[in-house]
Amino acid sequence: MTDGAATQPGQDAPDGAPDGTPCGPIRRRVLAWRARARPPLAWIGRITRHQVRFALVLIGAGWGVLRESLRPNSWRRTVRYEFRLSLRQVVAGGFLSTVFTATLAGLTVVSQAAYWLGFAGMAQMTGSILVSLLVREIAPVLVGIILLGRSGMLSLTEIGLLTLGGQVRAMQAQGIDPFLVLVMPRTFAFTVGGFTLGIIFAVISLLMGFIVTHATGVMNMSVWTFFSDVVTAMSAWDFLVIPLKFILVGFFVGLGSCMTGLLVSQDDTVATLMPRGFARGIVLVMIVNILFSLEF
């Protein structure tokens, strides 16, 4: 039998190790150092977790969207309705902005590239340079920014206000899963919209560039030859990577906007929500583009 001063399991002895053995000055120094190091380590851990939280949420939600979308039971009438509504908003809403931006890109990038390549006697490289510069690098970034600004911020605000107003909780009380009804269809609408707007952007920018260079006499080939040169300059990887970039940019812009809106805290307002959503969206667009640039 032990007396009352005996230590309990897991409790440090008054002057030593957890097992009750007396400890020397080194041991005491280690314990003191550990006690001092714990708060800053906890702070670093907290900051790290806070910083990577959204990335982890995004990975989980992305997996959730893909998994749920494979269940036929997920595509109910309400989900299909929301998908149609969002798709119309993303594509029709972003169409004019895409056309306008693509025209500007065509007038500047394509015409300048064609002019200076012709000037340098490297006109045969026009196709490959346009593909690698405009279609593969610039178009996904600009389309991502159009998607984010024109539709992503709208989704973010709508879902954020629903969450703050308690409507998301009310939907849950009715057995309507907001992830299924709001996040999944909108993410897929952004994915389809990203691809659609991306292809529109690529075609229009190339076409506008051709029209300008043709009209100014820099380029004398026909439009069919010009597009044939561009397509010929594309490698097999380009045919895979370019659509994949458009699709992934749309997917992550949609998912990021919806999840930022769904995860608002009670302290958030539109003033705090929108800058955060925009910054996250831009980072996502850049990450998708940089990852593909590094890989391929």
């Binding site: 309400t78 629903l162 308690g166 849950q172 309507i176």
Partner: protein, 231 residues
């Protein structure tokens, strides 16, 4: 799905105060199919929290809440959502999604949880809407409707689709007098079909006309749920 046991059963259900705000006292309640319990509660927020507790939205520290014999805590997300689709809920506020028109808000649970043809759902909603005083179904967004019309629309949504449990929060301050009779008729019709009804009221005068048909009269206070004798 018919149930021979209690439709709603709270057995020493102790809500988690940190996550709900509801007083951490054990709640006991047993509602059989066709029963109507009136819960008098002066605080509408507390009534909403208790309704949340009944539909499994509030985490429990102890005890259980069962609906149609199924414990909310034992169910996965999909089962939870499907089961909540069988509850008709008349909520005071925060239930209207301004992304859709009011007609879609009304039909949303039915369109989501059932495979009933859309036309059939529309017809049923129209019939109920007319009973509650609408000329048809309001299609403008809920934010543009008056409080009275929103209360009517909330009634239509709660009674639509033959729910097995009705959680009716007190909207008597917004509901026009001409909609009170259809409300009581809808409650009676639902009970005749076997639904259990939990009706929250802030004062006795609200349910006085229906007192003879009420099975249980309860009072919801901070200290818990108490059975009352008489009106």
């Amino acid at each position: 799905m018919a149930t021979s046991g209690p439709m709603l059963e709270l057995r020493a259900a102790l809500p988690s105060f940190d996550e709900s705000g509801l007083a951490p006292v054990p709640f006991d309640l047993r509602l059989m199919p066709g029963d109507c319990a009136v819960v008098e509660c002066r605080d509408p927020h507390r009534a909403t929290l208790f309704a949340d507790l009944c539909c499994g939205m509030v985490p429990l520290a102890a005890g259980s809440v069962r609906f149609m014999g199924l414990d909310w805590q034992d169910l996965g997300d999909r089962q939870l959502n499907a089961l909540r689709g069988r509850i008709g809920r008349l909520a005071r506020q925060g239930t209207w999604v301004d992304l859709f028109g009011t007609h879609l808000n009304i039909m949303l649970p039915q369109l989501h949880h059932t495979t009933r043809p859309t036309d059939e759902v529309i017809d049923a909603a129209m019939t109920l809407g007319q009973a509650f005083g609408f000329p048809g179904l309001p299609v403008s967004v809920p934010g543009r409707l008056s409080a009275a019309d929103l209360a009517r629309a909330a009634c239509v949504r709660a009674f639509l689709g033959r729910p097995d449990l009705l959680l009716l929060e007190d909207v008597s301050d917004a509901l026009p007098a001409d909609a009170m009779l259809p409300f009581l008729e809808a409650v009676t019709a639902a009970r005749d079909r076997g639904a259990a009804v939990l009706w929250f009221a802030r004062k006795a005068s609200i349910w006085y006309e229906y007192r003879k048909a009420v099975n249980v009269h309860l009072r919801l206070l901070d200290e818990g749920l108490f059975v009352m004798r008489g009106v």
